[in-house]
Symmetry: C2
Subunit: 557 residues, 2 copies
């Protein structure tokens, strides 16, 4: 047995409550090394020999590892457990003290108590969510009366500059709700809408004011109300890592320097504050002077921003927040944020923008999920670029699933692209068959599919600002076939419960012929999905074992 | 290279801020497999090829693994890093995406931002602490006027029953402050002192009242004041996992049943509440009916207990809390607890009672440290029972150090025993030479040595209640030689800064002859400690390399 490859710790992704009285346990081992993995578990105050046995199932693999997984019940909520691992040379116990031939010597891992206060609760509706991301200036111009000065004419052929305006607004979104409903999406995520001089509005001037170019608080409320009537939820973008240059507190510091009561709201290196040759204050990214970083550890800043979050959650009755640059803000702040937002709306969803391993934020105390860029990386490499085979693709997906507690997965924002990336179809080199396959994958994988506005009608675009072209509304320019594909798959996801709520297992990995497949089942029915990621036709024999004794198999597509 | 053995995640013990602008990074590999481990690190918004290189040092090993460790500076606080590992077959990059021959392919781990609000700050004084644990009923009877009815005569020869009283009290502790000062300890940890019917007082009747058998609030304040005058700090025991049967809220539930406003303060299965044949409510451990478990997720319970913590921290000016059954209370509660206590006294120390892996509580947001029972397990096996060799001993110590962020280690309560265990000398079978060696180890290892009252004068005792005999004050019965040994070693620890604040490296591991040694250095001087854990005399040649070009070596003992 390759002992060095075995990993478990009684916390995080490897041990987390699946409910008030059950614990999900995972163990990692060298790929192919273990014949079986059993878990002996009991009450931690019970006798050493008391307890039950559960055989853990192989949940997935990557190039190096297998992961075993199972859920153990606990009437008392206090758990002690030890693994029994079987390999070629026999069995070994594995516990807190390591490996041993004798169970007692191995010691027992402890999950001392499943505390109600620490449960990882994600709004149930997220499991059924299909998200549509809107960049308001570029979606639809519903009110030409509020267009900013110098607004360019709307054209899907336009090539936006970093400072272009196109006049899109909240009224435009309201007018297009029927379109969105027909598409089948049920969650809108709007990039920032509060007062700001830019088109993207990630440099907030006033967190309490909807930008007049987009409408006002009443328009926002109307949008949310009308969206709700159609069963569509609305998330806003919380830009709390940094403010805008025009933010009142920063302006005060500019004017009063060290004497400003807001001097500590930011990270100022010296006074007076200057922006050239480089800003002498911390900013978002590399010296973006329009975005001074906020000191979220400062009690006043914290209180201010939490008030903002509470205000809009309550006032506009929104359904949650996407958090900008979420991993550069302190955990302490996000914990308080979760408390405040969920107090107002326990069903609110909180989704962080994190491009990398988001483990520390997905423990139940901070975010419900994140924008799943790791998912995008894998899908892009496999379907769009054809850079990796089915084996590597499966490995990347498995690793991402095993990074986080189970709860997070069903609420992930599974995206193919966003306002911060090249558009997916462009990455595909315009090859629609690749995009179609990727969308099929996105719509059948665990987690919320997130559609970046316009992707569904075949919009192209390179990196920012080119990925932010005005929405292509002219039907004759839209790719209606792709749109139909989206509609059909969203409808299928709604029809087939396992695609939304079912467990996931890899079904077919064939790197030679470039085939991939998985099954999803929810206890009642089972859906298998097969992908031919090659330009050739292939006959494939699949194992129907996952479908058990099913009497009826049908082709859902 | 054994890729499967390599482990790193950019969080917790493997990556944590060592200060506002530096990150401690650890990597685990198969023992002996890596020749070297380098870290390439830079600003996460910088160019991929920009950055610096740090060679990580081997911080320790166990039977299976080596751990490499280093601290990298970050002017911008935003980090990206990738490892370069060299083994027999050459080098490999290791990053977020796994192993690769090409640096870019491996991806980079991200530590997005070292947030001020998340820094793991432990009071600096803890590094110099030597703790003395007092079980007040058994330490000294300073006021016979407040002895409980049926108090037994004080005698170190007494064999306490579970319900014995001996009349020890706060006045007794005050009277013995000169003794404690002469011993050299500078932190007292008192087991509970609030109103309760038992001798141990872990079943609290009134959190706001010092038990009259121990004194009153004034006596407590006097004790703290007089202790402070001698440079001795005082910690109390926070018993917040459960209350006592007599606690007003539980009494109300007993009387009013479901209608009690406190019905949800506990975990009641059904009404009326009964204690026989088994309690129909959750309790501490297995049906201990005198200790109903508190529902710390309930906002009122939380507020009540936090008020208690704040009250005594402020009112009695204590220096911190030891938390009873800490790992069965929710993280959310402890985070709020830390905030409240540190707000009143930023220098307060918070130490959890956790007998196993305490990782989830030692992230900087909850506890400063824990009662280090994993340390005790190792010391007991090596010195007292002689059950393991020097190699296994070193492995256990290393593993425990690598479980937690560095900050926690210097504040650990390194104990040989407590009111919950057999006394150490008893475990040694009375063999003083074993105890002496263990105490030398305890007094020279990183973390706060914690002395259980009476251990220093050679008290024996089996498991609870036998380990709680009245303190042996008769000098003719005390082991004065052992006491002198304690005094000398405590003085040595005070004299030699590296023993309190220095880094730690294993120096000698000789399982054959049963020899062990380590060095500690603080940048200025270096202390080496050698243990002959065998009954035989041995000549040993040690590597003086850790002492660098030292001109002077002296025998500190």
């Amino acid at each position: 047995m390759w002992k060095e490859a075995v990993f478990h710790r009684p916390e995080g992704p490897y041990a987390h409550p699946a409910g008030p009285r059950e614990l999900r346990v995972r163990l990692r081992a060298k790929r192919g090394d273990l014949f079986s993995c059993h878990l002996f578990h009991g009450d931690r105050y019970g006798g050493e020999e008391e307890g039950d046995i559960l055989r853990l199932e192989k949940a997935g693999s990557d190039e190096l590892f297998d992961w075993f997984e199972g859920v153990i019940p606990s009437a008392t909520r206090r758990l002690r457990y030890v693994f029994y691992l079987e390999g070629e040379e026999g069995g070994l116990w594995y516990g807190e003290k390591g490996f041993a031939a004798d169970r007692r010597e191995a010691g027992a891992f402890q999950y001392p108590y499943i505390c109600e206060g620490d449960l990882y609760r994600v709004p149930d509706w997220a499991k059924d969510g299909v998200v549509y991301q809107i960049f308001p200036d570029r979606f639809f111009n519903g009110d030409e009366g509020n267009d900013p000065e110098g607004t360019d004419p709307w054209s899907a052929a336009a090539r936006p500059r970093p400072d272009s305006f196109y006049g899109g607004d909240l009224r435009g979104i309201i007018e297009k709700l029927p379109y969105l409903e027909a598409l089948g999406v049920n969650v809108l995520y709007l990039t920032p809408i509060f007062l700001s001089p830019s088109n993207h509005k990630y440099d907030t001037t006033d967190y309490y004011r909807v930008d007049p170019a987009f409408g006002d608080a009443e328009t926002l409320k109307e949008l949310v109300r009308l969206a709700h009537q159609r069963g569509i939820r609305v998330l806003l973008d919380a830009v709390f890592n940094h403010a805008g240059y025009g933010f009142f507190a920063f302006q005060d510091v500019l004017q009063r320097g060290e004497d400003s009561p807001y001097a500590d709201w930011f990270f100022i290196e010296d006074f007076p504050v200057v922006t050239t040759p480089r800003p002498n204050y911390e900013t978002f990214a590399n010296g973006v002077w329009t975005m001074p970083k906020l000191n979220t550890a400062h009690p006043e800043v914290r209180a201010y921003l939490l008030d903002v979050a509470e205000y809009w959650t309550r006032e506009a009755e929104i359904d949650g927040w996407r958090l900008d640059v979420a991993n550069e803000v302190d955990h302490r702040f996000w914990r308080a944020f979760r408390d405040r937002v969920k107090e107002v709306n326990p069903e609110a969803l909180i989704v962080g923008e994190i491009w990398h391993d988001a483990g520390p934020w997905l423990q139940g105390d901070q975010f419900d999920s994140v924008m799943n860029y790791l998912f995008r990386d894998a899908v892009l490499d496999f379907f769009a670029a054809g850079r990796i085979g089915a084996d590597r693709f499966d490995a990347l997906l498995t690793r991402t699933r095993m990074l986080y507690p189970e709860q997070a997965h069903f609420a992930m924002f599974n995206l193919l692209g966003s306002h911060d990336t090249e558009r997916f179809l462009t990455t595909c080199g315009g090859r629609l068959e690749r995009m179609r396959l990727a969308v099929l994958f996105q719509m059948t994988y665990p987690g919320m599919p997130m559609i970046y506005y316009g992707d569904e009608v075949g919009m192209c675009g390179g990196p920012d600002p080119d990925c932010r072209r005005p929405m292509m509304w002219e039907e004759e320019r839209q790719n209606r076939e792709l749109l139909a594909h989206y509609r059909k798959l969203i409808a299928l996801r709604k029809e087939l419960r396992p695609l939304r709520r079912g467990d996931f297992r890899t079904w077919l990995v064939d790197p030679l012929r470039n085939l991939y497949g998985f099954v999803r089942w929810d206890g009642e029915s089972c859906v298998g999905v097969l992908f031919n990621n090659s330009p050739h036709e292939h006959r494939v024999e699949v194992d129907l074992h996952p479908f058990g004794g099913a009497e009826k198999l049908r082709d859902a597509l």
